[in-house]
C-alpha cells in the first residue's frame, strides 16, 4: 500500500449564514431579520420569532456561534415554527455538512443547487434532509427550493484545494455510477470506490484514498462526486476512474446526456457536456463501462 500524507488540516473557520426566503409570485415582498435566540434547556416553548402572515414572506438571518452540528440541530426551532432552516457546517477533509430542517415540509421534494450542480432530494417524515458534501471551492454555496420557498447559505471552506474531484451530473433515472480503482485495486477490493462502497472523507484525511458522494433521489437531477487528495508525499500510482451506465428500457438505443467535471491543470473544475450512445434495447440490463471520460487521477507531489 502506497502511503499518502494526511491532508493538510487547519482550524476551521465557520461562517454560517442561513437565509430563509420565501417567494410569492416571484417577488420578494418583505424580509425580517431575526437575531439568534436559542432556547435553553429549561425555557422551552415557542421562539420569539416573528410569524409572518400565512401568505406573506419571511426571511431569517441566523448567525449562530461556532457549534458542533449536533448541538446546532438540537437547538433548531423544531417545534416553534414552520420557518425552515438550512445550516452549513464545515467538516474535516474539506467537506460541508448540509442540514435542512423544514418541520412543515415532511416528505417534500427539494431542489438542491451547489455551485452549478443540481440535484433533487426528499425530506424525511420530520421534514429533514442532511448530507456531507465535498467542498468544491473555497466558498461553498448551497441553495434549496421547495414548496415555494427558497433558502440559500454559504460557508467558507479554506481547505477546498486539498481535494481534487471528478463529477458526473445528469437528469433523470439513476443511469450512471462513477467507479474508481485506486492504485491498481480490483473490483470489490479495498480501493474500489463507488456508490455501493463509497468509503468516507476520513479516508482522504488519513491519506488512504478517496470517497464518493451521491446526491439525488433518482427521479430528477442528480450528481456523483469522487474526491481524492490533491497532493501527497509520493507521486507514484494513479486512480483509474470509469463510469458505469446501466442500459434501461428508457435509455436503450438513445443518446444519453450528462455533464462531466474534472479538476484541471489550473485547479478549476471545468464542465464538459458529454453524450453517450447507449447500446440497443436487446441489451437492457447490461452495464456499459466508459473508460475514457475521465483522466487518471494522481497525487501532485508537494
Amino acid at each position: 500500500m502506497r502511503r499518502i500524507l494526511s491532508l493538510y488540516r487547519r482550524r476551521w473557520r465557520t461562517a454560517i449564514v442561513t437565509l430563509a426566503l420565501a417567494f410569492l409570485s416571484g417577488h420578494l415582498m418583505q424580509s425580517v431579520l431575526v437575531e439568534p435566540s436559542w432556547p435553553t434547556g429549561s425555557a422551552r416553548g415557542p421562539l420569539p420569532t416573528p410569524m409572518p402572515p400565512e401568505d406573506n414572506v419571511s426571511a431569517s438571518l441566523v448567525a449562530p456561534p461556532v457549534l458542533p452540528t449536533r448541538v446546532a440541530e438540537a437547538r433548531l426551532p423544531r417545534t416553534a415554527s414552520c420557518t425552515p432552516v438550512l445550516t452549513l457546517d464545515p467538516a474535516p477533509a474539506a467537506t460541508v455538512r448540509v442540514g435542512l430542517a423544514a418541520p412543515c415540509h415532511a416528505n417534500t421534494r427539494v431542489s438542491l443547487l451547489m455551485g452549478n450542480l443540481a440535484a433533487q432530494v426528499e425530506t424525511d417524515a420530520h421534514g429533514r434532509w442532511s448530507a456531507r458534501l465535498p467542498a468544491l471551492r473555497e466558498i461553498t454555496d448551497v441553495s434549496l427550493s421547495f414548496g415555494g420557498r427558497f433558502l440559500a447559505a454559504s460557508v467558507e471552506t479554506p481547505d477546498a484545494a486539498s481535494l481534487q474531484h471528478v463529477i458526473l451530473a445528469w437528469d433523470g433515472a439513476p443511469t450512471f455510477h462513477i467507479t474508481a480503482f485506486e492504485f491498481g485495486a480490483h473490483a470489490r477490493e479495498d480501493g474500489h470506490v463507488w456508490s455501493g462502497a463509497p468509503s468516507a472523507p476520513e479516508r482522504a484525511l488519513q491519506g488512504a484514498g478517496g470517497f464518493l458522494t451521491r446526491v439525488g433521489d433518482g427521479t430528477g437531477p442528480a450528481f456523483e462526486i469522487y474526491s481524492f487528495p490533491a497532493t501527497g508525499a509520493e507521486a507514484g500510482g494513479v486512480v483509474r476512474v470509469a463510469v458505469d451506465a446501466g442500459v434501461t428500457e428508457e435509455n436503450c438505443g438513445q443518446l444519453v446526456r450528462a455533464t462531466a467535471f474534472q479538476t484541471g491543470y489550473t485547479g478549476e473544475l471545468s464542465p464538459t457536456d458529454v453524450a453517450f450512445s447507449m447500446p440497443g434495447c436487446d441489451r437492457v440490463g447490461d452495464v456499459v463501462r466508459l473508460q475514457n471520460l475521465f483522466r487518471d487521477m494522481r497525487l501532485a507531489s508537494r
Binding site: R2, F183, G184, G236, G237, V238, R240, L255, A260, G264, Y265, T266, S270, T272, D273, V274, A275, F276, S277, L290, Q291, N292, L293, R295, D296
Partner: protein, 496 residues
Amino acid sequence: MTHLRRLAVLFFLSAGAAVAGPVVLTAPDGGMTVEGDLISHDGELFRVETAFGPLTLDAGYMRCSGPGCPDPAELVARSEIGGPPEMIHRLLPALLEVFADLNGLSYLRRFIDDTSVAWELRQAETDRLLAVISAEVLEEGTAQERLLAGEIDFGLATGEVDTSLRQDVIALDALVPVVAPQNPRAMVTLNQLIALVNGETDDWARLGGEAARVAVHVPEGWDAVTRRLGPVDLSGAERHEDVRLLADAVADDPAALGLVPFSAIGNAVPLVVGGACGLATPATRDTIRAEDYPLTQPVFLQRSEVLQPKIVRDFIAFARSEAAQPVIRATGFVDQAIGRIGFERQGDRIANAVLSAGDDPESAAQVRDMIGQLLDAERLTITFRFRDGSSDLDPQSASNIQRLADAITRGDFSGETLMFVGFSDRSGDHDANLRLSERRARSVRRAVAARAPDSSVSLELAAFGELMPMACQDTPWGPQVNRRVEVWATPSEVTR
C-alpha cells in the same frame, strides 16, 4: 467516404453559390459587420460584393444572415483525427476543450463507442454549430495510410513518417522499463535489461530474485525506440495496442517486465537502467525535454497538405503554442515548455566530468575552466541533438529551433545572455572533438538567430568536446546522447 462527402458538399455549394443574394456577415464578437451580395462560398471562405468592392472573409468565423446565405448546416467545419488510444482519449480531449474554452466555444463530447468520439463545437452565445471534430482510435501504424488515402485529416503518432505528410512535434514521450510494485528489483544494468526483453533471461531467479517466469509486455508501434536498447528480439513479448492496459498488466503481475510510454506508467514502477560505466539517466520530465534520456520519442501531429478550415488551423496553432504546454503536461505527456536546470542540480553531470578527466592534469584544467564558465548559468531543457551519424537535427531538436527563437522574440531571456555549448562523444582526440563541437554549436546558433532576427539577446558560443559525457560511450545510444548542443542562460552582467 469522408472524401466523397466533402466532394458532395463542395458540389452542392458551388451549385448553390450561383444563386447570389444579399447577406450580412457578422464576426462572433460583433466587432465587424459586412453587408453585400454573396459572390461565392466554398465552405471555407465567403466572397462578398460590398460597397467597398469584393471582400473575402472566413466562413468558419463569420456568421451569415440574409436570404443569400448558404444553408448554415453546410458551413460546419469538419475534421477527422486518428491515432492510438492514449492520444485520442487523453491528449486530444484536453487540448481541444481548453482551446474551446479560450475561444468562447461551447462543446459537446459525444462518445460513439470505445474507439470513436466526436466534439461539436458551438459558438457559446448563439449556439451555432461551428465544427465537428471526429476522432477515432486506429490500429497502430494505420494512421499514415488513412491520411494518404484522405480518410482522415490528421494523425497522431509516435512514429515518424517519411512521406509528403507535414508533421509537427506536439508533445514528448519516452519508453520506460517498468515492473510491478511488488517486484523488489529497482535497478538493472543495460545488459540485464536487454537479456530480459529478449527472453534470454527467462526467470527472475537468474538475477537473484524469487523464481518466477519473466513475462515481457511491449507497446505496439514503439519498436524503433525499443531497438535503441540494442539488438532486441521481441518475438516472445506480449504486444499491447492500449498502453494503459499494458501498464495494468505489468502492475498486476510481479513477474512482468514492461516497456511502457512515460505518459502511461500508471501503477507500474520504473526500473532504473544503469550503464556499465556508471552513468544512468532516469526518465523525468526534465531529462525527456532535454532528450538526455535515451529512449525519448516525440508525439507527432501529422497532416496532409489539404487546406483545413480556419477553426482547425487555429486549433493546431494552439496545440503547438506555449499556452498549450501546461495542458499537455496535465495529461501525463511531456510538454515542450522551456525549463531551466540550475547548476546546483547538475552534480551528477559535474561528477561525471571530473571522473572522466581522470588524473591527467591537462584534462582536469579543462574541466575546471568549463565549470568556471557554467557556474553562474542555468541550463535550458532545450537541447539540440543530431540524427544518428549525421549533422541533421533530429525531429525534437528541429522543432526546438523555432521554439527557442519564439521564446527569445517573446522576451523570455531579456537581460540574459544565451550560450550555445557544444559537446561531442568520446571517440577521437580532444582537439578534434573541440572543433567538431564548436562547429555544431555555431550552426545551431545560426539557425536560431535567423529565426529571431530582431532580438537584443546576445547569443554566445562555447565548446568543450567530450568533457561532460551524459551516457556511457559503449551503450548503443551513448555517442548520440553525448553529441549535443546545450543552451545555457546567464545574467548579462556576469558574462563580459
